[in-house]
């Protein structure tokens, strides 16, 4: 990504703060970030690390000077850090409940999920549901639970309609080729309900986003 941005957007990385997992405090890393003179803060922290680092970046006044970008949104991020911090922020994700306006399956899923759990599904639930459905489909096509046969059924590259449109597994490295959702944080005043944190800007088809199958030296090994 860095190479791509450098070539196409005149990007320079001011500082790369690789922080310890589960850090109790981000103050010292954020001081480095604040003193780096950067214009953009790309935060790839995960789970509570993401929540805490964003909240503390705000406490240090960094979010007022640097534009926050979230390459992969953590489930419930909006609810945990609040819309004041997510507004205007660009984020990529696997699923947003507002996709119910675009995909009939998503609408069905969101409604059923909300009826059962009393809140709208995040992408963790979408991933779990979709993976299980794709596995069931592969088992059905294989006609058996025998893993090598099921793997081959996956590798056939069948296209399936999913909660986010067309998806399929790539035989070369068993990666799921699926769209990525690009969204932007809504202003608190524009939220239509307490879970309406994000506006979906684009559903980007998966093909162009995939690394070449051999990019990470993937070796699948034998079936058994």
């Amino acid at each position: 990504m860095e190479d791509y941005l450098r070539k196409n957007a005149d990007w320079t990385t001011a500082t790369n703060q690789v922080t310890p997992l589960g850090a109790a405090d981000y103050s010292s890393y954020l001081l480095n970030v604040g003193n780096s003179g950067a214009d953009v803060l790309i935060n790839v922290n995960w789970g509570h690390d993401a929540v805490l680092s964003i909240q503390q970046a705000n406490q240090f006044g960094i979010l007022a000077k640097q534009k926050l970008v979230i390459p992969f949104e953590v489930p419930f991020l909006g609810r945990e850090v609040g819309p004041e911090l997510t507004k205007g922020v660009y984020a990529a994700t696997d699923f947003s409940w507002t996709l119910e306006d675009r995909f009939p399956l998503a609408k069905m899923f969101v409604e059923a999920f909300q009826t059962k759990y009393n809140y709208r599904p995040q992408w963790g639930a979408e991933n779990a549901y979709m993976q299980f459905a794709l596995w069931a489909d592969a088992v059905e096509r294989a006609g058996t639970f025998y893993p090598p046969a099921v793997i081959k059924a996956y590798e056939a590259g069948n296209h399936n309609d999913s909660l986010v449109g067309d998806v399929y597994f790539r035989a070369a490295d068993h990666q799921l080729v699926r769209p990525v959702i690009i969204m932007r944080g809504k202003e608190p005043g524009d939220m239509k309900n307490p879970e309406d944190f994000w506006e979906v800007l684009e559903v980007v088809p998966g093909e162009r986003l995939m690394q070449a199958p051999d990019a990470f030296g993937c070796n699948l090994g034998p079936y058994t």
Binding site: T19, P20, G22, Y29, N32, Q55, Q59, E80
Partner: protein, 306 residues
């Protein structure tokens, strides 16, 4: 050949070492160290007096935060949150000592470690069962929100307040331990609880209070720190490990050692992050290992009594 995205070049390492950043990090080390010192002082008071190394200390820190959160939700007052949460933790600590810990004073250290570890797990899971795993935030009081420009750096106002509160709380703890009758009994109890008992002093009650005060130090730190972090049930885990390191560096059972250790730990975390953040916590353990090798009783600890 793709380059390792996490490899740090020499230029990159030195790019963050500038005077303004050094001064910022040094200051931040003191500020975060003061809080660590406060939490660690509770651990060290309990160990020094009761001989029990409480692995439930991180859970007390977390519980303090949640107690403060509940009090804040109920009243909207930060002062009430801090007072209520603090009293709550004295009570919780005292009750735990009364029901469980006092049965373990004469048992081997492994039993004490296991039972306090277990208490910690139970408290964390109870909080998770009641509040769930998503984090909660307590806003700082209005007069302390925002940032304060300090010339060389912009620092969150509330963190400055926390540093002041932590320093004041440590001073109060020091006065109680070294300038009051109860403190004298506590210190005498550490040396020889049998003689203290023979003098007609109810050591059991004093010990219960000591565990309560130790838990309170962690809980109080948990509440005042709540607006800085967001509350999660397992937030005490990382803190427990750090306070452990602080106490080992400063000297197990030494109150001034906990303060010195806390400040040193804060500086290690901050200054290392200037060179390479990924190693900041590793460095904490490197220093702890060095202290254990060169001065096993810790910087301000006395050689073992027994």
């Amino acid at each position: 050949m793709p380059t390792d995205p996490e490899a740090v070049s020499i230029d990159e390492i030195f790019s963050m070492i500038t005077w303004p950043n050094f001064v910022s990090q040094f200051f931040n080390g003191l500020a975060s160290g003061a809080l660590l010192a406060l939490i660690s002082s509770g651990l060290t008071i309990i160990y020094g007096t009761l001989g029990v190394l409480s692995l439930a200390h991180g859970a007390m820190f977390m519980l303090g935060g949640y107690a403060g959160y509940v009090a804040f939700q109920a009243t909207g007052s930060f002062i009430v949150a801090v007072t209520g949460g603090t009293l709550c933790l004295v009570a919780v600590g005292s009750i735990i000592e009364f029901i469980i810990i006092r049965r373990f004073y004469n048992r081997p250290p492994e039993d004490q470690l296991l039972v306090t570890f277990g208490i910690g797990i139970v408290i964390v899971e109870l909080v998770r069962a009641v509040f769930g795993s998503l984090s909660f935030t307590v806003p700082p009081p209005a007069w302390a929100s925002g940032t304060t420009p300090m010339g060389f750096l912009i620092y969150p106002t509330y963190r400055l307040v926390v540093t002041g509160i932590a320093a004041a709380a440590l001073a109060v703890l020091y006065l109680v331990l070294y300038r009051t009758r109860i403190g004298m009994i506590v210190r005498a109890g550490i040396e020889d609880s049998t003689t203290v008992r023979m003098l007609g002093i109810n050591v059991d009650r004093v010990f219960m209070l000591v565990f309560g005060i130790g838990a309170m130090a962690a809980g109080f730190a948990g509440i005042v720190n709540a607006p800085v972090v967001s509350l999660t049930p397992d937030m005490g885990d990382a803190i427990l490990v750090q306070t452990f390191v602080v106490v080992v560096i400063g000297g197990v059972g030494s109150f001034p050692g906990a303060i010195l250790g806390g400040l040193i730990a804060g500086e290690i975390l901050s200054l290392t992050s200037m060179v390479d953040p990924a190693y900041s916590e590793v460095m904490l353990f490197v220093v702890m290992t060095l202290v254990l090798l060169l001065r096993p009783q810790g910087l301000l600890g006395l050689p073992s009594r027994d």
